[in-house]
Subunit: 591 residues, 2 copies
């Protein structure tokens, strides 16, 4: 079927049901960042393969709402599909809702697969459209026309033993149950796969990059029901779960379980991380308590085992990165290196490391002007050859059985402009100021963000992304609740949280610079003014100093930089060859 034929087939079903608009969000029933192939609904329907967007189909219009990152790609991929590109004014805003309200006549019906809609979006859609006399209904018009729709993944999952993860499932369930008591909730539904992975010490490979398993949980004071394809677990693993008080049920049985909750009971559901369809199957008398998943904060605070293991992962990752940057520096201008071949080389060095599972996200391997696109992803069409000049930005990460990494380095490949050296030094100043900060307990991410930006602001420069995000433990590389950015998100930074610090400067058409470490929050000192925290740098990879303008650094910044590079050498050298050590010794020399 062509895209136009699919559109016709969808409109035929809409007509038969007297539905005026059909929505296709980019989501799965777990509100995941990365989707199983089964849920690649937007590529199937329109050909668009970007990671964010919403399709809206009426009888006389079909459009894709997406943000500026994808304008070029969407225009190309939608060509001839029957879909038009609708440019979002603000990223992540559901601007299609307003469009529906203005376009559809009173009394219209909007249909969507409500399993692909978050409760938050469903509530917003219902409230906004009901004011205009428009109603929402559940329909899946894709399944009937999607002949070779990929099935849900059947890969095996696996459990991580308590001694490798620091906390038993039964102990985690105890914490969740304490939260249920606090919220006066009888039940708790968990759909988000990172919360599932944390809660049940379970991992898998159902989607790209995030080592998660399609599953749901229903928890009360007496039981914890895990809904998962039972073939994904061995009998021994089911036995282990049972010992922790967890019973296994088929994945699809969640819907029925929710539909049969006791009358007048109450359930805690995170409206951002659960689908609207499952809210609607609940009996009408069940009281819904909409709060953030209690596991969100529990998961963000890493225990001693997770931290110790992450430090091990960082050594492995640092060894791979050292070999990679040595290879680049020794071969640039001698052999052909492209953005894609460099990324492949980096992956091969990581793959040599014991415990490596895969990349934690798509590597950003960006030469020169490509570096100015913060979300650049090299393709065979865009793939640039690296030359012995300008800057090369590499933002990459690995999933290891004992931790998740995320690191950006920007290196000089030869001659550099004055502006490149200046910008590099400014980004480094910001990154150092964030990294060496001492701050009182209770400090929020927006305060750390401001302090990191200050040296960059001083030169009339700024960057459009946040300074940092939370990172999971052998789990999602983007994890809440903490974030370092300018919005007024009032989440305090807690001990044991792992967060990135990654300021940048981007000059379109010229170059992009970003330097990123992951840091752990540690207790620093307690004075008459209270307890103060600081950051422990977890990432171990030399920060290139060749184009640093030393006179622009404060003494304390030089000190931090030299100390950091010395620590990198000290921690990595036992795992490197003499030749590698010679290279790293020079790379980490004090300035």
């Amino acid at each position: 079927m062509t895209y136009k034929e699919k559109l016709t087939a969808i409109r035929k079903q809409m007509h038969a049901d007297n539905v005026q608009a059909y929505l296709i969000p980019s989501a799965d029933p777990h509100m995941s960042e990365y989707l199983p192939k089964h849920y690649n609904c937007i590529p199937f329907t329109s050909g668009f393969r970007g990671s964010a967007g919403t399709l809206v189909i009426t009888q006389d219009f079909a459009g894709l709402w997406t943000d500026s990152r994808y304008f070029e790609q969407a225009a190309e991929q939608l060509d001839g599909s029957g879909f038009e590109l609708v440019k979002l004014k603000v990223q992540h805003m559901p601007e299609y809702i307003q469009w529906l309200g203005e376009t559809l006549p009173h009394g219209s019906v909007v249909a969507t697969d409500e399993k692909l809609l978050s409760i938050l979006s469903g509530d917003l859609l219902t409230q906004t459209l009901s004011d205009k006399g428009i109603s929402l209904t559940h329909k899946d018009y894709l399944n009937p026309i999607w002949q070779d729709r990929p099935p849900l993944p059947t890969d095996a999952a696996f459990l991580i033993e308590e001694q490798h993860i620091g906390q038993s499932v039964s102990s985690k369930l105890k914490e969740i149950r304490a939260a249920l008591t606090k919220y006066q909730a009888d039940f708790h539904l968990v759909s988000s796969l990172d919360d599932m992975a944390w809660l049940f010490n379970i991992r898998g490979k159902d989607v790209n990059y995030n080592p998660v398993v399609l599953s749901f949980a229903l928890i009360n004071q007496d039981y914890a029901k895990l809904f998962i394809n039972p073939n994904k677990l061995t009998e021994a693993e089911k036995e282990t779960l049972l010992k922790n008080g967890v019973e296994v049920f088929p994945y699809e049985a969640i819907e029925n379980a929710l539909a049969h909750l006791p009358e007048n009971s109450s359930i805690l559901i995170d409206p951002k991380r659960n689908c609207y369809a499952y809210l609607k199957v609940l009996p009408a008398t069940v009281k819904v308590i909409k709060e953030t998943n209690p596991s969100t904060v529990l998961k963000a605070v890493k225990n001693e085992t997770e931290l110790a293991n992450t430090r091990t992962a960082m050594v492995k990752d640092g060894v791979a990165l050292t070999r990679f940057f040595k290879w680049i520096s020794e071969n640039i201008g001698k052999i052909k290196i492209t953005e894609l071949s460099a990324a492949a080389k980096l992956r091969s060095y990581r793959a040599e490391q014991n415990g490596f599972v895969g990349d934690s996200f798509t590597t950003i391997s960006a030469y020169k002007a490509h570096g100015a696109l913060p979300h650049y992803s090299a393709s065979t069409e865009s793939d640039s050859e690296l030359q012995p000049e300008s800057l090369f930005l590499v933002d990459s990460g690995g999933q290891y059985f004992y931790g998740t990494t995320d690191i950006t380095r920007t290196i000089s490949l030869g001659t550099n402009t004055e502006e490149e050296c200046m910008d590099y030094t400014l980004v480094l100043k910001g990154m150092i100021d964030g990294s060496k900060l001492r701050f009182p307990k209770g400090t929020c991410g927006y305060q750390i963000d401001a302090i990191t930006r200050k040296p960059i602001w001083e030169q009339g420069i700024n960057y459009g992304h946040g300074t940092g995000h939370g990172v999971g433990y052998f789990l999602n590389v983007h994890e809440g609740p903490q974030v370092f950015n300018p919005t007024n998100n009032p989440v305090a930074i807690e001990l044991g949280m792992i967060t990135s610090i990654e300021p940048g400067i981007y000059r379109p058409g010229k170059h992009g610079i970003r330097i990123e470490n992951l840091v752990n929050t540690v207790s620093n000192t307690t004075t008459e003014f209270g307890e103060f925290y600081a950051f422990e740098a977890l990432t171990l990879a030399a920060i290139n100093t060749r184009i640093v303008k030393k006179t622009l650094l404060e003494q304390s910044q030089i000190q931090w930089l030299n100390d950091y590079n010395a620590m990198v050498f000290e921690k990595l050298s036992p795992f490197l060859t003499t030749e590698e050590n010679n290279w790293l010794k020079k790379e980490t020399q004090a300035i």
Copy 2:
């Protein structure tokens, strides 16, 4: 009547009305910071004279809820009054509401003078207590027993001519009416006296420190009604107002005007800045739109005339401060100087200045350990004599016909401890970093607060108050909406806003240090990354450098300090005698 007799008289009325609890907030119908004597209800009833508190009276309990600033004072002043001190856990929190909910039986009635309750508090009280079957009713039990209750002030008000304030009343009304259109509101009630003063270019002396006039306004697209004691204005002034489309009505007539708003009309009311009583007199069909007063933001952004005049006020204030600090430095250890006598001396220097109206708040004149109390107010009992050692903190401000000032300096009186010098240098570093900051348009106060605190945090030190507050134009010294503090208040700093920058360090029993300037927000540069703002230092008074530890300052901080002190000399010297100039020259010498 003794306090106990008053309590008995109140309880008698409660019993007659079958009222179980009576509340007395510290407020007036304008939700003012400083109250007319007529509304000194808490001192009348209990003897407590602190500026913040709530009395709660039941048949078997009478208590004052107040915060830690007043624990000592309250314990003393309430002695023998029949009232007990209830210590607030969190400043400004209405913790008495929870107490009422837990203490009163189902079906109880709580009474209060609803003119002294903000809409926000009234709504909160009603919602929280209705869950427990408790209702709220309006009663004034003080008036019947308050024989010599002071009448409302009758002092004359006065209008400021347009050329002295930069914007006509009719032009301001036009902006308000545009906001009414935006909010789809037919009417707008203004009760807050700073908004009234700004809107009608009117000033007076009805309360201490804030040059405001008791009045209300009711505005729609056709008229602007000013409710004020008509004797406060001359016929010529009424004529001027009329030319700007403003009709004058008696102060008390506001209640009737609100009660007779057209059926099904709508009214914009700021729930923080209007009283609950006037919400309740509205006809039931009137739709209430609860939003911040549009004048709040308009008022915060000063026009060119206001800024030019404020700069003039700063020169006058700077001359007075120079004379004051010269006098201190030349007389310390020679004549008896106390905290109170110093404050009086400073006031006398200000009073010599043309256009001086009065202090803009109670001067904090705090020697040595008294400086560690951020809200210290010297009394005849506490009044310390200044010695030629340690530090003297003076936080003071003036109201001039052409601007409001607020400045803190901390000076060395002789020998100083190492800790005093260190702390002074750290506070100065923070104050300089805030003052010399360049930041992108859209930056909020919490970002500026964090950057100001960084040098102080670095030493494991912090301060418990905000870094800065908005300041009015010949108006309230505390003015919103902008604020520099750690809370996540998402108000962007706009061009023309006047804000204080005043970090501090307080060591109980030892010393307190605070250094404060007022700054204006100015455009600094526009680059490919957008527009950047910076601060113009408005305050003109030498920053003492005698105990600065220069090695702890960065070069850019030294530069700012020397530039600032040189500017102070340059701008003040034309108005000083040769002898004064000689002193100031030394005081402002570059380090």
